[in-house]
């Protein structure tokens, strides 16, 4: 016998192990050492979330009741997996190119980024999955109950409800912790995936262990088991052809449409090639999972007392045979099946709820819409965390309402039928260009409604939401509308009845709706993009014209992707266009890429709506579509090549033009520079000469003489400083500066700069915002030079920030082997046309303040940073003047030579 507290301890230890494994995996992935996390084997094992507690425990019960029929649940997925080249490869490719975040997003994106369809699929998924989660909670509490009852110390389980609450809360914590680390659904949840892969192994080992024990420990080997099978009641299982075909089809559909399966198959897929491995390895896993099901059922029926629940044979059989250790292993296997399903389902549902319901709602309620969206990232993450809580609460609520009734045990197949309603819209969407939004909507609503009416609501029993009267006589006494015998066709198995009617009418509505309606341009384009996902050498575009204002787009993107990520994306795009800085030209191509990037975070419908706010009038029109709609393959390929070439030419031309502009500018600059130097030298010289001539006169009063001598002195110093700066600049520009590289704490350097700069306009009351802990970082560089740059930036802010209550935010961030220091003030910033010239020599933007030398400060800063192996850049879109200083944490010593 197993002491109950030992079981609890083992269970807790197992949970701690899962947390630790997930944590370590996240850490390794983050530090870039997680290559093995992306192996095809991990992918294959993660698919095992298909095998829930319902299959782990329930398959044996299923076999005890209906013989081999249980195998159909595994046969369907096997058929889909071995034919991966057909459907799965296409889904995965579409998922990657369109950055699909969930199955609701797939449907929404395919049918013209319609959020309404996203909402329908989300509702369907929530209604279909919550009871399924309840089933998992039930299995865990039931299996706990088995041990409690068998415990000699009479460990009475406090309350099954309490166990369920603890399990639900623990799962919510795990999911929130590891499932909402990153916003972008296309970034993998390494921690979750690896924990699930581990659980997959535990499941398999547990079932194998029990199976081997039963076959060779309890029974007398394979031959004996086969003989026992023929002798058992299972031998006379009733094979119903309809259910045999229907269940195989249903389980095949479920592999594609269950939200959690879509999550692991498509969203978490890191590489298409993994499908080639999973295509045979996952069917092998399913085979292994079902290998011992019938033997366990047969031996259980033979050995266990009559009336014991065959659903728990996996647990009770080893327990009654006195093998407590194996029972604990079996328990952990069941626990793994339940938890891995709940975790992935919660992530998938939370993504749908936050992207299709909460975020669009929030954006539409806000004045100003997407333009004033602000911190969408924070909103979506919070929404996702809350949704996880809500989904688990729904599961728990359903569990406690149904009170562990038998209705719950049947919910697995009922959920399959519900989610299979997505199948027509999904397959139609990826194989048929003529499928339209109207058709998909009509099909989904029809299927959803019929499923609710014929299967889901009746599953609560006659005391539930549909009265016994309606079940027997139909609503209002209309016999032909009886939920389980539509149109008077009786005698079919209720599950098959519901599946056939709902899917048939769903498909019919989908086809008729598609044929009769006329799609919008965006819909047709997405249709082409999905159906022809493999021959898109040029890709299709949702935006025909550019011209949106890049700074506004950057501000919005920062709100969704986070500042760092958005800046990197914009900068890369600018570099690709041959431009410097953070603001690329907003070409249709760029806008399209940005939209997909955002879609990975908030879903295609929301991303499209947000971009549309900025690129109004630039959305694709019917005329633009003509090119896309042309189905002549050769023309397409040829024009794609031409377009690629002309794009390349345009890029080269742009680069040439920029170089030419630069050269012309340089020559103009050289003249301007000489003229500037002349001006800057002559001005102090004028005062010196005039006053020295005055001083030469004999009859000057003494106070005046002293005052004028003082002026001469000041101007001489000014002249000296200017000459120093010029020489410094020249040395720096020639990269011949002597660097004194030493190690220092970045925090001290910033501190030093702020103190030194406080002498600039000391009358101004300046507020600094800093995050001190992040500043403590060792840098190995020429510290005096770096401080010189910091002083310059801080005193510039003191001088030029025009806010009433001036503030300066200093942010330090480590980015790989580099450190970035941002200086952001709250003034009106630098106008866009001036942003490109502020680092030039003598480029004082205003002439009002004479305090600041000759306008060489930022030019010197730029040269210093270049000497230190770093950069200084103006950062647009920060709400004030913002500069980013970026330098290597360790300055190489190469330049010293």
């Amino acid at each position: 016998m197993v002491p109950f507290d030992l079981l609890v301890a083992g269970c807790i230890a197992y949970v701690i192990l899962l947390f630790a494994v997930a944590f370590v995996a996240e850490r390794r992935a983050r530090s870039g050492r997680g290559g093995w996390l992306r192996s095809p084997w991990v992918y294959t094992l993660s698919l095992s979330v298909y095998c829930t507690a319902w299959t782990f425990y329930g398959a044996v019960g299923f076999a005890a009741r209906s013989g081999l029929e249980f195998a159909t649940i595994y046969m369907g997925p096997t058929l889909i997996m071995v034919g991966w080249w057909w459907i799965l490869r296409k889904l995965v490719r579409i998922g990657r190119t369109q950055r699909v975040t969930s199955i609701a997003d797939l449907i929404s994106s395919r049918y013209g980024k319609s959020n309404l369809l996203g909402v329908i699929v989300t509702l369907l998924a929530v209604v279909g999955t919550a009871p399924y989660i309840a089933l998992q909670l039930q299995s865990v509490t039931l299996s706990f109950g088995v041990f409690a009852a068998a415990s000699p110390q009479g460990w009475a389980l406090p309350d099954q409800g309490v166990t369920a609450i603890w399990v639900a809360a623990g799962l919510a914590l795990f999911t929130i912790l590891f499932g909402t680390r990153n916003l972008d659904a296309n970034e993998r949840h390494h921690g979750v995936v690896i924990a699930i892969a581990l659980e997959a192994v535990v499941k398999l080992v547990a079932l194998f262990g029990v199976g081997a024990f039963v076959v060779w420990g309890v029974a007398g080997g394979v031959g004996d088991v086969l003989a026992k099978i023929e002798a058992s009641p299972i031998a006379d299982w009733p094979l119903q052809p309809g259910r045999w075909i229907g269940l195989t089809f249903l389980s095949a559909a479920a592999l594609l449409t269950l939200p959690r399966m879509f999550q692991v198959l498509v969203v978490e897929n890191a590489d298409e090639r993994h499908l080639a491995t999973a295509g045979w390895a996952f069917p092998l896993y399913l085979l292994a999972m079902s290998l011992f099901v019938v033997p366990i059922a047969v031996v259980g029926l033979e050995r266990m007392p009559a009336g014991s629940n065959p659903d728990l044979f996996v647990l009770t059989l080893p327990l009654s045979e006195g093998n407590g250790g194996l029972a604990i292993l079996a328990f952990l296997g069941g626990f793994s099946s339940a938890t891995s399903m709940v975790i992935v389902a919660a992530i998938a549902l939370a993504t749908m709820v936050s992207n299709h319901i909460v975020t669009p709602l929030w954006l539409s309620l806000r004045a100003g819409g997407a333009r004033a969206a602000g911190d969408v990232r924070g909103l979506v993450l919070t929404a996702r965390r809350l949704s996880i809580g809500v989904v688990l609460a729904l599961g728990y609520g359903y569990y406690s309402l149904s009170g562990g009734s038998e209705a719950l045990a049947a919910i697995g197949l009922i959920a399959f039928v519900g989610l299979a309603q997505i199948l027509p819209a999904m397959l139609g969407g990826i194989f048929w260009r003529g499928a339209t939004r109207v058709g998909a909507g009509a099909g989904l609503v029809t299927g959803f409604a019929l499923w609710l009416y014929t299967l889901f609501l009746p599953s609560f029993g006659s005391s539930g939401l549909i009265s016994a009267e309606v079940l027997v006589e139909g609503p209002f006494g209309w016999g032909w509308l009886r939920p389980q015998a539509l149109f008077g066709i009786e005698g079919i198995d209720p599950l098959m009845h519901a599946m056939i009617w709902s899917l048939a009418l769903n498909t019919a509505a989908f086809l008729i709706g598609s044929l009769l309606s006329f799609p919008e341009p965006l819909e047709r384009m997405q249709g082409a993009a999905f159906v022809h996902v493999f021959d898109q050498s040029r890709g299709t575009r949702g935006w025909s014209r550019g011209g949106a204002e890049p700074e506004g787009l950057l501000v919005m993107a920062q709100g969704i992707l986070g500042g760092e990520e958005a800046q990197r994306f914009f900068q890369a795009a600018a570099v690709e266009q041959g431009k410097a800085g953070f603001l690329p030209d907003t070409t249709p191509d760029f806008i399209d890429r940005l939209e997909r990037r955002l879609a990975g975070a908030v879903g295609s419908a929301t991303a499209h709506a947000m971009i549309a706010q900025f690129a109004e009038g630039a959305a694709v029109s019917v005329q633009d579509l003509m090119a896309v709609a042309s189905e002549a393959q050769q023309i397409k390929e040829y024009s794609a090549q031409l377009e690629a070439k002309s794009e390349e030419l345009a890029r080269t031309a742009r680069q040439l033009r920029e170089v030419n502009d630069k050269l012309t500018d340089l020559s103009v600059q050289k003249d301007a520079f000489l003229s500037q130097i002349s001006h800057e030298l002559r001005t102090p010289m004028t005062s010196i000469r005039a006053f020295s001539e005055i001083l030469m006169e004999p009859d000057l009063p003494e106070p005046m003489r002293a005052k004028y001598a003082e002026i001469i002195h000041e101007e001489a110093i000014r002249l000296t400083r200017l000459l120093d700066d010029l020489l410094d600049l020249s040395v720096l520009e020639n990269r011949k500066a002597q660097l004194t590289v030493q190690v220092a704490n970045l925090h001290d350097l910033i501190e030093r700069a702020i103190t030194s700069a406080s002498s600039t306009r000391p009358d101004r009351d300046f507020t600094f915002h800093r995050d001190l802990p992040t500043e403590h970082m060792a840098v190995y560089t020429d510290t005096d030079r770096l401080v010189q740059v910091f002083i310059n930036l801080v005193s510039n802010a003191r001088k030029y920030c025009d806010a009433d209550h001036p503030e300066l935010t200093i942010r330090v961030r480590r980015a790989g082997a580099r450190v970035e220091v941002d200086f952001v003030d709250n003034g009106s910033g630098i106008p866009k046309k001036s942003q490109s010239i502020i680092f030039e020599k003598f480029s004082r933007l205003t002439d009002t303040s004479r305090a600041g030398g000759a306008g060489l400060g930022l030019a010197i800063c730029r040269e210093i940073m270049a000497n230190l192996g770093g950069t200084i850049e103006y950062l647009p879109g920060q709400g004030g003047a913002a500069f980013r200083v970026s330098l290597p944490v360790r300055r190489g010593l190469t330049r010293a030579a």
Partner: protein, 123 residues
């Protein structure tokens, strides 16, 4: 009462120096230190001679001079232009704009005084 001179220049030390030199010679010296409101300052002060720097905050000295020459009331007011850039094209631009005299910084005090006297019609 001496004659009036208006000095349009943004460097305080140069204002001080020129002011000293001219005041000692009996001139009434007023100064204005930026470009945009320079014309108004000239109308207000009604000087006999204007000393105009080329590089001014807000507006260039050439622009101011152009506007003066186009204005009937100010067209004949004597103007001495000062520049620190000292290039030939600056001198040409000043002549085109209608400057009566052009001096490069740094200047000799005596020369400055002589020029102003001549422009102001003081023998």
């Amino acid at each position: 009462m001496g004659k009036r001179v208006l000095l349009i220049e943004d460097e305080p030390n140069i204002i001080e120096a020129i002011g000293f030199i001219l005041a000692r010679d009996g001139w009434q010296v007023a100064s204005h230190s930026e470009g945009t409101a320079a014309i108004e300052a000239i109308r207000r002060e009604a000087p006999d001679v204007v000393i105009l720097d080329v590089m001014l905050p807000g507006r260039s000295g050439f622009d101011i001079l152009n506007e003066m020459r186009a204005d009937t009331g100010l067209a004949h007011l004597p103007v001495l232009m000062l520049t620190a850039k000292g290039q030939v094209k600056e001198r040409e631009a000043a002549e085109r704009a209608g400057a009566d005299r052009f001096m490069t910084k740094p200047f000799s005090n005596a020369e400055m005084l002589a020029s102003v006297r001549e422009l102001g019609g003081v023998a």
